[in-house]
């Protein structure tokens, strides 16, 4: 089952590459460097969804103390950190030629950095106590706090003056991009979403096997 998800995810990512490099046009103002968007933007959307899974899993765990809920949250947090790391790295690579800087402390970049650090903290705090059940409980609280910051990241470009531009797609009204650019972004989003689901499923299985082996 998980293996088939992996195969479908691979096909999705390949389709995304075809869309990004062969179908999408060279953007008018920025040129080819704009193609970084096809990884940068889906990576952060997928990370948001992974952290939503952490939120739901953490609430469920604090409520029921079911190990499966904690495993789900743990796996989703690890994968979310990877995708958010990809988002931040591609953002820096995109920022240097276009903005003229790898990094700046505007509200969007700062709030993303805060979420990134909180979820690294989520992974660290699990190991801080010898009692895994206690570690899972601490982590669940950190996970909930981290996920609640995501609306702050999204609205940061409206609430503060920032260098980062406001959303092109994730806003009310029509998208501020050509249809081919939107289509390429959508395919890449689906590809990375499948990849994220595959990673989470794989990590979940490993965590369960680990817990069964040590129990």
């Amino acid at each position: 089952m998980t293996r088939w998800l992996g195969v479908v995810a691979m096909l999705g990512v390949l389709a995304g590459l075809v869309m990004a490099f062969l179908v999408a046009p060279r953007e008018m103002t920025q040129g080819n460097v704009q193609r970084i968007m096809y990884v940068h933007v889906p990576a952060v959307w997928v990370a948001y969804l992974a952290f939503l899974v952490v939120l739901l899993g953490s609430v469920a765990y604090l409520w029921s103390r079911a190990p499966a809920a904690d495993r789900t949250a743990h796996a989703a947090a690890e994968v979310g950190v990877v995708f958010l790391g990809v988002n931040i790295a591609t953002g820096a690579i995109w920022g240097k030629p276009t903005w003229g800087t790898w990094w700046t402390w505007d509200a969007r970049l700062t709030s993303v950095a805060v979420v990134f650090v909180i979820f690294i903290g989520y992974l660290l705090v699990r190991q801080m106590t010898d009692d895994p059940e206690r570690g899972a409980r601490f982590a669940a609280v950190v996970g909930i706090v981290g996920a609640l910051n995501i609306p702050l990241v999204h609205f940061s470009v409206y609430w503060w003056r920032t260098l980062h531009q406001p959303p092109t797609f994730a806003k009310p009204g029509p998208a501020a991009a050509s249809s081919a650019i939107g289509a390429a972004l959508l395919v890449n989003f689906v590809g990375l979403l499948l990849l994220c689901a595959y990673f989470i499923a794989k990590r979940y299985d490993l965590l369960r096997a680990q817990q069964e082996a040590t129990a």
Binding site: F21, L22, V23, A24, P25, R26, E27, M28, T29, Q30, G31, N32, V33, Q34, M37, L62, W63, R65, P97, T98, W99, G100, T101, T104, W105, D106, A107, E133, V141, V145, N149, L152, S156, W159, W160, R161, T162, L163, Q165, P166, P167, T168, A176, A177, S178, S179, A180, I181
Partner: protein
Amino acid sequence: MKGLPLKPKFVAGIAVLALALAYMIYAGVTQSAVYFVTPSELHTAAKTGKAYRLGGMVEKGSVNWKPATLDLRFTLSDGQAKVPVRHHGTAPDLFGEGRGAVVEGTWMSEGYFQATLIMAKHSEEYKAPHDAASPGYQELMKSLRSDQK
């Protein structure tokens, strides 16, 4: 422990974080903590030698670029006030007249802004050339061979 409510220290921790978030939003909405100041704001309270981040539109026809000496001069405007900016070095790809820019530097007593870093602010719009949804492959290959323009 099953089903017990959260411990008081957790509640206290969450309260502190919630207050910090509320303050950040309040400071942002009231503009008491800003990423950059506008030309109007700089004019009302410019301190010589103080570091600022200044944001505005690059005035049309104001860019004066000398490639031989890497001297760049332009005017930033917010529609009401204008600030002359000087910089030594190259500007990013998206810097240009009629576009947004954010510069870091200091206000000089001689009446200009000496920039140490120029950042281009771009819009959220992404357009195909002439907005045709044509395949971009040929264009990509052409640009990789760098024989355009």
